[in-house]
Symmetry: C2
Subunit: 324 residues, 2 copies
Amino acid sequence: MLSLEDAQIRIKKEIEIIDLPLVPKDLYDPVRYILSLGGKRIRPALVLLGANLFSDDISSAVNPAIGIEIFHNFTLLHDDLMDNSVIRRGKETVHIKWSPNISILSGDVMSILAGKYISKTNSPNYKDIQDTFNRTAIEVCEGQMLDMDFERRTDVSIQEYLEMIRLKTSVLIAASLEIGALAGGADKKSAAELYEFGLNLGLAFQLQDDLLDSYGDTKTFGKKVGNDILTNKKTYLMITALNNSKPEDKARLLDILGWTTIDPFKKIDAVKAIYDACSVKALTIDKINQFFDLALQKLENINIEDDRKIVLKKFSAELKGREY
Amino acid sequence: MLSLEDAQIRIKKEIEIIDLPLVPKDLYDPVRYILSLGGKRIRPALVLLGANLFSDDISSAVNPAIGIEIFHNFTLLHDDLMDNSVIRRGKETVHIKWSPNISILSGDVMSILAGKYISKTNSPNYKDIQDTFNRTAIEVCEGQMLDMDFERRTDVSIQEYLEMIRLKTSVLIAASLEIGALAGGADKKSAAELYEFGLNLGLAFQLQDDLLDSYGDTKTFGKKVGNDILTNKKTYLMITALNNSKPEDKARLLDILGWTTIDPFKKIDAVKAIYDACSVKALTIDKINQFFDLALQKLENINIEDDRKIVLKKFSAELKGREY
């Protein structure tokens, strides 16, 4: 059985030898560039692990795994342009290094390349793999659109927020596992259970990210703590606070959201004081644990030997163990 | 047998009843909008005609035909953004009516929707249909990139230009016919011949467009004559003139390309005088006729009853009959 690290190493190698045309240079250089920036390759690794759950031979899952990684990087490329982000993984983003037009077109070709790699499999479950990918890719676009919509709104509900992160983040993690399972010969029911495992894991992971952004340890989290607060992001924490705080705290929170020219630490502390007053941290941890529990339940439902599930259980436990 | 008009009417109806989600509104409204702007629906009609060449039952070709039309409109949507065009078919372009970001994301979802419709067929040639689409979609991106590259160059060769229009325009016309043929049950060899028919027809058509832009009759051509000259577009005519004119004419042509603040008619007349001095019109017509002849030869090669070829021969003859 492959460990997560084995799968990541395999993907890293496959991405390194990926055979892209040399010309037109301005079309394919940005593709090579963004794929070379690294990242943890979690999604394609999950494709391989999903296959390995049902089969020792994972060869049918390799190209779909690459397709998933290309698709994920395509979304990063276009998201960076839409958000006008200048840095991605410590390097200039494509629209800065080249141009917005080149970023649009290179992204477009990546989206099609993704579909091409997804379809390069000799799995008999070929059609289901294709369908899962198409459905998921559409959902990811919907999630990104909702995220952009929410930036202009202050009345986003918890339910709407969960639906947004489900579409923007979780479905691709879930689909990676499902596509892997299908490529590994899983029956539809088992593949669907594995999808649900991934979906709940993805939701837990995104809420953890929200929590870590406000309550994480700068050293272990890696990013600057409080960034979501400073940029007025409507995270699970912020929405929970807006919904659960006393009227005077809610009014104060809305007031703080308007603060711009102030010491950033003051703003972070002021928001976190309101979070603390209505138990935002505890409520978020409860929700995260619910999703982790649900995920593990879905994994239990799959009718294969327990031994084969160890790798995914370990992955889930490692995620759950992130400190906050 | 379907006539071209029958096929166009069928496509028009299918596009009208296409089932797109209502939300997120800002994601799908632009998709509905651009698909509703009309156009001649030539490409999807060719999918149906390609199928009808080999089968009376064209049902397996309908969804792929819609996929081709969605893909074509996706390229228009992103091209309009990259070129910053404000009008498409007499209406505001998506990035003007909504925003650049919405145009990026709606285009992205269209590209995936296209692949989804292409894959919604019960044809046994499903995999070949998929492969033809993926290969072609990638080529169209390459063609657009070359077109953008060429804007900054004055040394584009005839061969490079033909390769650019092959990728940007012809392969999609060719692939439409091939995908139709495959959906209609054609063998690979016949489908490939039909592809070549479409490819040469597409090249002839694009060169005709170049010619009509400078030598067309405003009434029948519809667009403003001389626009390519005014915008310094490196068309087949311009490249032929730069290659074939006497040194002093070439120097004058390069000089004219720098003219900006002058009576447009003067610029058009000055360029056309040089075109006439080195027989650009006759050379272009020769090339167009070569492509038409080659196209018909490819159609002849297909081993089916002559009766079935009448519709495509008529289509080809009508294109050839455009006046210049």
